[in-house]
């Protein structure tokens, strides 16, 4: 004789352990977000587009056997013809973990998680860990003329909202009719209590348009690797900003000693011989801003990636043009991308132009050096987070 009982449905017992697991996944995704490989085109994707990001597995580590030669598994296939040497399972290709990070990530297992670009931006934002106050500074506040904003029951005659008042009158009559005894007289003229007046407000309006300038040196010294880093950086920047504004336009400026506006494809592919005048790009950007994106109605962002190999004759002009431009930008970021191995021996790091610009850094002008993929995220954080790296 056994006992039977109907289980008393208790609270979902694994709920908190599931929540805890999800927290861990979320964190892994956030960490992975900064590791995305930007082989997507930067613009022209809508937020629903999915991208893959590598996420560190939430693994439970135990001692297990590897698969060295001589380890045999056992199978059982009654009634089938099994011959020695017969292939029973196709071998898997060696799978790399991540991108070019073999060796370093020993013990890390990656799996890919698909998220939409919108989610990506959310994760980026979450990773910045911004206090509310700082969030606001992404949008420029424009002073607005006073405007109508709702209605009130008191006001001056010129601000009478005739339509709302008429509606109020009808409402009052209808409700009186419902409540009234049959023969009761109902007043159908306007009463004082029906009248509504416009409320005038001078709340400043947020500008919801943004234009992002991506400027890059395309001289011969900009190697594939540097461009790849620039691209990844630009990609994160764009996804992040796109999420903050209703409308985000992008302008690509490539430059050698002269700057020109170009499209995304050419921007990353084009190689030009010739020297480098960093100043050419911010000057062109100024020009474009005045013609198409007036600072009074656009939030302007400008990011400049170079290998720092500027011609010294241009340094003065470059510093001045960048300082000028930063005056009308929400943020101007000057980034030198210098992979350690491409750095000449005699060079001790960032070039002299970098140091000059660093001296004039301010809330809307930031400088940074990117050495490898790993430094993209810290730089991104230093641009937008404004908080010490944790």
């Amino acid at each position: 004789m056994s006992i039977f009982r109907s289980h008393k449905a208790s609270a979902d017992r694994s709920a908190s352990d599931r929540a805890r697991h999800k927290q861990k996944i979320d964190k892994a995704i956030r960490d992975g977000v900064t590791d995305i490989v930007a082989d997507e085109s930067i613009i022209g994707q809508d937020g629903k587009k999915k991208i893959k990001i590598p996420v560190k597995g939430i693994k439970e580590w135990q001692f297990i056997y590897g698969d060295n030669e001589g380890q045999k598994a056992v199978g059982s296939a009654p009634g089938q013809d099994v011959q020695k040497g017969q292939v029973v399972k196709k071998g898997q290709q060696q799978q790399g973990s991540g991108t070019g990070k073999a060796g370093k990530d020993k013990g890390e297992e990656f799996y890919e998680v698909e998220i939409t670009l919108d989610e990506l931006a959310e994760y980026l934002f979450a990773s910045l860990n911004l206090p509310d106050l700082d969030r606001k500074r992404f949008k420029k506040l424009l002073d607005e003329k006073p405007r109508k904003h709702g209605t009130r029951t008191t006001g001056i005659r010129p601000r009478l909202d005739k339509k709302k008042s008429a509606i109020q009158r009808i409402k009052r009559i209808n409700s009186a009719r419902r409540d009234a005894e049959e023969a009761e007289e109902i007043s159908t003229s306007f009463h004082e209590e029906d009248l509504r007046y416009y409320h005038i407000d001078s709340k400043p309006k947020e500008s919801t348009n943004a234009v992002v300038f991506f400027a890059m040196d395309v001289s011969g010294s900009m190697t594939q690797e540097i461009r790849f880093l620039a691209r990844s950086f630009f990609f994160l920047l764009y996804q992040f900003l796109r999420h903050k504004y209703e409308k985000t336009e992008v302008v690509f400026i490539s430059h050698t000693t002269e700057a020109e506006e170009t499209d995304e494809d050419n921007f990353f592919k084009k190689y030009s011989s010739g020297g480098t005048h960093v100043s050419s790009a911010p000057i062109l950007a100024q020009d474009i801003i005045m013609k198409r994106y007036h600072p009074s109605s656009w939030n302007i962002y400008y990011f400049h990636c170079t290998d720092g190999d500027n011609w010294s004759e241009d340094n003065e002009t470059a510093v001045k043009s960048i300082l000028d431009l930063s005056g009308i930008c929400q943020l101007l970021g000057y980034v030198e991308i210098i992979p350690p191995k491409t750095r000449p021996d005699w060079d001790t790091g960032a070039g002299s132009l970098y140091n000059k610009i660093k001296k004039i850094e301010g809330p809307s002008l930031k400088t940074a050096v990117i050495e490898s993929k790993d430094s993209i995220w810290p730089v991104f954080k230093s641009f937008f987070g404004g908080l010490p790296d944790v």
């Binding site: 004789m1 009982r5 289980h7 352990d17 599931r18 697991h21 045999k72 060696q94 297992e109």
Partner: protein, 438 residues
């Protein structure tokens, strides 16, 4: 929605119990709980235990099972029963009556096995649910303790889970270190041969310690009480589950053997009998590239009964574990009948998996030893504490031709460092060479 009532379950259960008693089965009373699909996955995530400490890995386990079920990759288990007295078993309300009958018969087999198999001797099934509840409450109190908190608790549990099955599998009892020391002192005193001339009586441990977690609890010098308690809890749980790991093939085989027998004796109406046969064949089908423990165990028990009688089956269920069971009872003929074979991948250049041995004059021994290598917990590498040099804990891997997965071993060693709170070294072989992880 269900085609059965509690009265019906009780009636069928009476008949099942009667038949089982007639055969001499001797099981704990079974307490069946009816639960829905969601609760079933929940129960599975915690190994069926009515209460269990919280840890994110059980949430992960829930999601994985739930996901696989939704994708149709995995059916839910038909049965879930725990080793307790009374044995707690679950019946999913969505199951049709014939399936409940099958499960109840199957559970009788499991419970009989829990009660009688030698490896389960020290599991104290009467107190199991209470112990797990107490463990849950203690860990919960550490999580809620503001001076400890979930992060710290989790990281200790993570670390313990890394080595939870690094306990003695054979159930050998090892003398406490003090007693061992006394014995060795005796040996040294009465040493006529000079064998113990250079023996270091201060060595810790004096003999290899296979119970890594226990060693860490007893000899860790920088552990807080709550940390020791968590380590004890996990150690105890491993002890509780190890017999099930060691007898998976037998246990499932035995339960299947009996549900098959009992359901035949019940003389079910066709409307139940045909779906029962279908389910039975589904559960007991060979899996091709993996060994289905239900199938293998069932076939061996059937074979024993045919050749040596039912008494021998009862004898095996009492004294064997998977390893000895296969060694003693899996005959070459039966293995050929099951068409067992070994296969392996041939390195990086030729990654395809090809068949190495089949059951014939040359291959049978190899097939058998490969099979034994992957049953009864033998698929878990053996790691033991060899020594403590200064502050460094020296672990060794008992290498049997199979290399460790180094990435995993590396992470486990890091976790052990967290428990030892000092340097840890693991010695093993990799591709024929000595290899050290620290």
């Amino acid at each position: 929605m269900s085609d059965w009532s509690f009265e019906e379950l009780t009636q069928w259960d009476d008949r099942i119990c009667q038949i089982a008693k007639g055969y001499g089965l001797d099981w704990f009373e079974i307490s069946y709980e009816t639960i829905d699909y969601h609760e079933m996955i929940g129960a599975m995530s915690y190994h069926g235990l009515p209460s269990h400490y919280a840890h994110w890995s059980y949430g992960k386990s829930f999601e994985r099972t739930h996901g696989m079920y939704n994708m149709g990759l995995e059916g839910l288990p038909y049965e879930l029963i725990i080793n307790s007295d009374p044995s707690i078993a679950y019946l999913m309300v969505e199951n049709p009556l014939y399936l409940q009958i099958l499960i109840m018969a199957h559970c009788v087999g499991h419970s009989d096995f829990f009660k009688n198999n030698r490896t389960f001797r020290d599991t104290d099934p009467a107190r199991a649910p209470i112990r797990f509840r107490s463990a849950r409450n203690r860990i919960q109190s550490y999580i809620e303790d503001p001076s400890i908190g979930i992060e710290k608790v989790e990281s200790i549990i993570d670390a313990c889970h890394s080595i939870q099955y690094q306990i003695d599998r054979r159930g050998r009892t090892r003398l406490p270190e003090k007693q061992l020391r006394r014995e060795y002192e005796q040996k040294i005193k009465s040493d006529g041969t000079g064998k113990y001339k250079n023996f270091n009586i201060d060595k810790l441990p004096l003999e290899p310690e296979f119970d890594v977690l226990k060693f860490l609890v007893e000899n860790g010098r920088r552990l807080a009480d709550w940390e020791k308690d968590i380590m004890d809890i996990i150690h105890e749980e491993s002890h509780y589950f190890m017999p099930q790991i060691r007898t998976k093939v037998m246990n499932e085989g035995w339960a299947s053997f009996w549900h098959y027998r009992i359901l035949h004796d019940l003389e079910l109406p066709d409307a139940y009998h045909l779906p029962f046969l279908k389910t039975h064949n589904q559960v007991l089908r060979p899996w091709g590239l993996r060994i289905n423990p239900y199938h293998l165990g069932f076939e061996i028990f059937k074979d024993i009964e045919e050749k040596k009688g039912l008494d021998e089956c009862f004898f095996a269920r009492e004294i064997d574990s998977d390893e000895s069971f296969i060694r003693r009872y899996l005959t070459e003929d039966k293995a050929r009948d099951l068409n067992l074979f070994t296969f392996s991948s041939k390195g990086r250049k030729n990654p395809d998996w090809t068949v190495d041995d089949i059951v014939d004059e040359t291959g049978w021994n190899e097939v058998r030893s490969s099979l034994i290598n992957q049953v009864g917990g033998n698929s878990i590498p053996v790691i033991y504490v060899d020594d403590v040099e200064k502050d460094t804990l020296i672990l060794r891997h008992e290498h049997d031709g199979r290399d460790l997965e180094i990435d995993y071993a590396d992470r486990c060693v890091k976790n052990i460092v967290e428990l030892w709170k000092g340097p840890v070294k693991l010695l093993t072989h990799l591709e024929g060479e000595d290899f050290e992880i620290s």
